[in-house]
């Protein structure tokens, strides 16, 4: 039996814009994945604990407030600290190119800005999940 990819789609921090996250969540579902959606205003701890309990293969973070350098990096670091280094972390939102490079160095495997095709996110996750 084929193993299903499980993805946590989370909105960290203070940002009320979740249309992008919902569209991506839906695209992942339509690609056959099980998507756990957390809703708005999640703390780093909440996201990491949820990732552990749900045993996800990937975490997708969406943020349009500008706090991605703090929050994306914190989620990635805490996942590692908790022994979940095999979880793929990807992020999306309004993220300048310089930041995207820094995020990748910090362990955020993929950064997707405005105009990204959903298909590309699906392909990226399918190709890069580690389990």
């Amino acid at each position: 039996m084929e193993r299903k990819i499980r993805v946590l789609v989370a909105k960290p921090g203070l940002d009320g814009h979740d249309r992008g996250a919902k569209i991506v969540a839906r695209a992942l579902r339509d690609a056959g994945m099980e998507v756990i959606y957390t809703g708005l205003h999640q703390t780093v701890d909440m996201i990491v604990e949820t990732a552990i309990q749900e045993d996800v293969d990937a975490v997708g973070l969406s943020l349009l407030s500008g706090a991605h350098m703090t929050l994306f990096v914190d989620v990635t670091r805490l996942l590692k600290e908790k022994g979940m280094e095999d979880v793929l972390v990807v992020g999306g939102g309004i993220i300048p190119e310089d930041d995207a490079l820094k995020l990748k160095k910090a362990g955020v495997a993929g950064v997707f800005g405005p105009g990204t095709r959903c298909d590309d996110i699906v392909k990226f996750i399918k190709k890069n999940v580690k389990r």
């Binding site: 039996m1 193993r3 299903k4 499980r6 969540a25 839906r26 992942l28 579902r29 339509d30 690609a31 056959g32 994945m33 099980e34 998507v35 756990i36 959606y37 957390t38 809703g39 999640q42 703390t43 701890d45 909440m46 604990e49 949820t50 552990i52 309990q53 749900e54 045993d55 908790k82 022994g83 979940m84």
Partner: protein, 313 residues
């Protein structure tokens, strides 16, 4: 990996989470771990929460859990949402109403897709209940998918079944007399701040009166407003009373026995279907039989005999 069962028994969240995944994927490691786990189960009170879409099941679970946590009890939550029959994917959104519980180490929440099961549950739910039970949870709450009329499988797994209704169903309660209106140990009329609540309560009460003639227990009907935490303490009180009733009338063990029966049937069903439809030796045969049925060269019953004949020799 071989001490995953031992770590589950210690209550380690990562091991619990990983074993649930293995069980969902029918991995032999899970079957092996369940051998160690099963003897350590049976302590948790399993509460099934079912009801129509949008009746507030998730929020009710959140409030129940907060109340149980005040008493120092550990809670496991299984939240089931439908898997798309087309893509095989699922959007599991019950956690949205429970995120405040995410960082409480006395609570473990797992979202699951139905993965093709009808009836409101998912195939691995029996395993997951046992895993959470063995990990030391005192209460296991099982939230079914939003149900229509006939998805009543939750009674196979729950010690106590709550059917959650909302005001404004009106006459439709009359039309759902069968199915989910037959399975409640406790009725909850949630969102009781909405108009029409008196009518709904009266309708359910009258149903209950007819249903409970000559029964030793009258099914309670409670009004709750989850988002204001109203009626939750009373609901827990009724759940406890129901548990005592089960123990006193010795139906507790009989009900558990039915759960194990359902679990055994499910494991056999799963393995048999896998054997027939996924094993490569049979797969080609099945495909060619379907082709023959399509061309009217064969009828479905004869085709079924051909497959089963190879197994039931």
């Amino acid at each position: 990996m071989n001490d995953i069962a031992a770590n589950v028994l210690k209550g380690d969240p990562r091991s619990i989470a990983r074993l649930i995944t293995l069980a969902e994927n029918n991995d032999p490691i899970a079957a092996n771990a369940m051998k160690t786990i099963h003897p350590k189960t049976g302590n948790a009170h399993v509460i099934g929460i079912t009801g129509v879409m949008g009746s507030g099941k998730s929020t009710l679970i959140y409030e129940l859990t907060r109340e149980y946590r005040k008493k120092g009890l550990k809670v496991g939550i299984i939240a089931i949402d439908p898997t798309s029959p087309f893509s095989g994917g699922a959007l599991l959104g019950d956690r949205i109403r429970m995120m405040e519980l995410a960082t409480d180490d006395g609570v473990f929440i797992r979202s699951m897709g139905t993965r093709g099961m009808l009836g409101g549950l998912t195939s691995a739910v029996y395993d997951v209940v046992e895993i959470l039970d063995a990990s030391g949870k005192n209460i296991v709450l099982v939230e079914t998918v939003g149900v229509g009329q006939a998805e009543v499988d939750v009674i196979k797994i729950a010690d106590t079944t709550l059917v959650v209704l909302v005001p404004g169903l009106g006459d439709s309660i009359q039309t759902i007399k069968a199915g989910i209106m037959e399975i409640a140990d406790i009725y909850v009329v949630n969102k009781a701040d909405r108009s029409g609540v008196e009518q709904t309560l009266a309708e359910v009460e009258s149903l209950v009166e007819i249903a409970c003639i000559n029964k030793d227990r009258k099914i309670p009907v409670l009004a709750t407003i989850s988002k204001e935490n109203k009626g939750i303490v009373e609901l827990i009180d009724e759940i406890n009373k129901h548990r005592e009733h089960l123990k006193k009338t010795k139906t507790f063990e009989a009900q558990r026995r039915k759960r194990y029966e359902a679990e055994l049937v499910e494991i056999i069903r799963k393995r048999l279907m896998n054997f027939i439809f996924d094993e490569s030796t049979f797969k080609g045969k099945v495909e060619s039989l379907i082709d023959q049925i399509s061309k009217k060269e064969l009828d479905p019953y004869t085709a079924a005999d051909e497959i089963l004949g190879k197994i039931l020799k």
